[in-house]
Subunit: 268 residues, 4 copies
């Protein structure tokens, strides 16, 4: 089902359409915080041009003792803040037991890098109708990634957006090595939309705009970005979070870059 | 809970004791096959010195269209063949929904490399009493691996045996790069038993004995090995499967090596 | 000497200035071919906007039995074709014994990925006055790369342009994993110009324009590109070589992208 | 010339014979120090069973400002200490200009990981008669490594001993990931002797014996080990240096392990 034959797939999530030529911007805090802060984030992000609100209600953490998110309370807050700002909600689902709960509140379910080959979760995601954002695993080849998308599609849900977030290499200057070439490679091997997460791949807000613009220039369909009104105060991962003001400039630059590469035919 | 303080943990599975000084041998086919073949494997492995029968009833496969194992039928066959040969059973559990089913038949539950950070599964494994065999993820650091063991322990099940199976690197001569140094590193950072899987890490039966003996010399507590009476006829992964006869020689050599390194103090 | 203090370094090579805001285009065949073909390449590349002619006279080859370039004959041909098209010459020097010979013909000496830590060669390159193009080693961190630039600078030659060409990872969809984030990271850690080689990193001409434009969007100072009037006929590495016509389109798009990101402040 | 056809190559260096079945032990300080300390090291190493004295006179250093060894003075000291203890000398040559100087003093020339694809140096090493110790590059595949050996052999010197010293991966618990499987893989692809360097690959003296014994169990032909009478006082890299007393125990254990695996046929 996931192949490079036929037209490119377009996926609608709220007002956003992935794969339609215009980059989609999904923005929000790493982890969902106080409702009032979230509304502030949502309004700022929407004003900057984002149509999707992102934020973690359930957080995957390497250690069992780290803060793992506020759960359903956070899902409600996300939904309300998004509605307030007329946005869609995309948020991560960590396991099969959370799928229906998260789908009650979100417009798009995110499957994270660590779960890219959690086949039980992939199948469960394929059996419900909400679009899926499938992140690339840290040690996954592009072909394995597409096989995971196929797991979802094989169960009936062909609405899968791929999200490049960097792979694990020896280089420690960035948290992961952002594989910008995967964007045109995916064009050759599939017809699914591809977005990128420059925040988690870099782990450094000073790098985020440049990785984001590179990805747009390489032909990606959107950005998933951590944003906060006051990044230095954000609950988690503030080091990689940009401000709402920076998001505004980034969206404007991304649109200029998307236009600049408009005439360059992407590989088929 | 998982630390290097205190005595090394000993874990009993049937007649096997991990961490007691003598290497444990778990052997069997990649994927469970006809009951009569399985009984033949079990008897051959037991005669060679193996005390645990391994074999896949549920197989993780990169593509949704690959053969994914015979499921409960295979679990039954594993149990019967193991009983016949007076062995314990270790087999993989792919998701939370399979935990109680697999625990009904097996003496030890294996969590595979792709699921090393499937936190929902780790927690479920921690809430039941059977010992866990936790494989290292393909792109996981040793510290992340120990955090995953901690997820299981934090739920109440401290019976975790770690299994090194190689990490993903640029080298393609072997399927994964077997990280033999992780064995002494784990001695410095935890008190859990460590075994190795030379079959999956190499993907080549000609390499299996040499990687296995290297691991024993480095101080590991056992081997998880693919074995078949007629490897060239095995259902899956025959290229990396050794014969029962080769297993017999390997077990003998492994015992000689274990004795040869007996006087070398492992790091604490 | 190589630090992020002070102004960014500008390096003049013929008509090209690296680090002055406008991207520099260096183009030419992988390996130098017949003089008449070379002149055709040079004229086509110059017409497309390239100011430097690149091409291998001495080729590093993994096997001693591969074709290793035409040597001095090729250097002469490069010089003549470049003069004909009013371009500068950049070409690789493989060892200390070639430095003065190559410097006789070329305007800029390239040190390849395999030689990034050939300290004897780095020092020799630092003792002569021609600018150096220093490629990143396949397994080199950004900090090690900068230390190699420092080896050159420490001998007196501070005219070093860095060239990202991808690092070695597990992913085989591209020949190397192009590390686009190294561009802004280098801005934070040095004031040297940075260009990129999308041809060798990808190994696939269909990917070249997209990686090139991504690098421009990330703030790089130029491109080193394999080009040939008839790529399918080129002597070596034709699979990754683009046509002169494609170069023309790429240069135009690169200029549009450079303008589009003009207002985005690069990190300091 | 480098192939797996025919008998395995045996290489004689002083009293040591690589590839003859008995492991060879080369030991000494990371960097050559005071002559009297060196004599003490040599005598201790010889008493422990080492037949080759190793030590750096010219050191490859990432930064041009690090200590780069004592040069010819150190070569003389190495020679004298080795003669005193009736040992051979193996030491690194960093560039073509040092080859004849180093060959004047040493019995075997080491080409380091960073120079594995310094083709000019490989050819120069092939044009002189002393045996070569060729370390694996940090990002080199086994096949590339063998091609570099072929560069030396193609010039007339077929006396090449390969030395595994780990590859660069994402894991930071050790300085490099020691690829123990390369030992049997090399048996399948070449007939050259293979030794290992557990000191540089681990960077941690607590791991050295276990990696060394693993390599012996996997079938390697010898060890290259950093040793010092008082490791904590050694000039460089003391963290990875074992004491002469520990060397003695290691040699004894290595011999027991070599005997234990004696009956296990290595792959051909």
């Amino acid at each position: 089902l996931v192949s490079s034959d036929g037209d490119r797939v377009q996926i609608q999530v709220g007002k956003a359409t992935f794969g339609a030529g215009e980059p989609v911007f999904a923005a929000g805090p790493c982890t969902v915080e106080e409702p009032e802060v979230l509304v502030e984030v949502a309004r700022g992000a929407a004003a900057a041009g984002a149509t999707l609100l992102r934020g973690g209600a359930f957080k995957p953490t390497t250690s069992p003792y780290s803060f793992r998110g506020h759960g359903e309370v956070a899902l409600k807050a996300l939904r309300e803040a998004a509605d307030e700002a007329d946005m869609g909600v995309v948020t991560e689902v960590l396991g099969t037991s959370q799928v229906s709960l998260v789908a009650n509140y979100a417009d798009m379910l995110q499957i994270g890098a660590r779960n890219m080959q959690n086949f039980e979760l992939l199948r469960e995601a394929g059996r419900q109708p909400k679009p899926i954002l499938l992140k690339r695993g840290l040690a996954s080849t592009i072909d394995e990634w597409l096989c995971s998308a196929e797991y979802i599609a094989a169960e009936g849900n062909e609405q899968v957006v791929l999200c490049e977030r960097g792979i694990r290499t020896f280089e420690t200057a960035t948290r992961a090595t952002f594989d910008v070439a995967s964007i045109p490679v995916l064009r050759l091997r599939s017809n699914l939309p591809v977005i990128v997460d420059p925040s988690h791949s870099s782990g450094d807000r000073r790098l985020v705009p440049h990785i984001a613009l590179a990805a747009i220039a390489a032909g990606c369909d959107g950005l998933l970005i951590e944003v906060h009104p006051r990044p230095e105060q954000s609950l988690k991962d503030g080091r990689q979070t940009i401000s709402t003001e920076e998001l505004q400039k980034l969206v404007a630059a991304a649109r200029r870059v998307a236009e600049a590469v408009n005439g360059v035919p992407l590989p088929r």
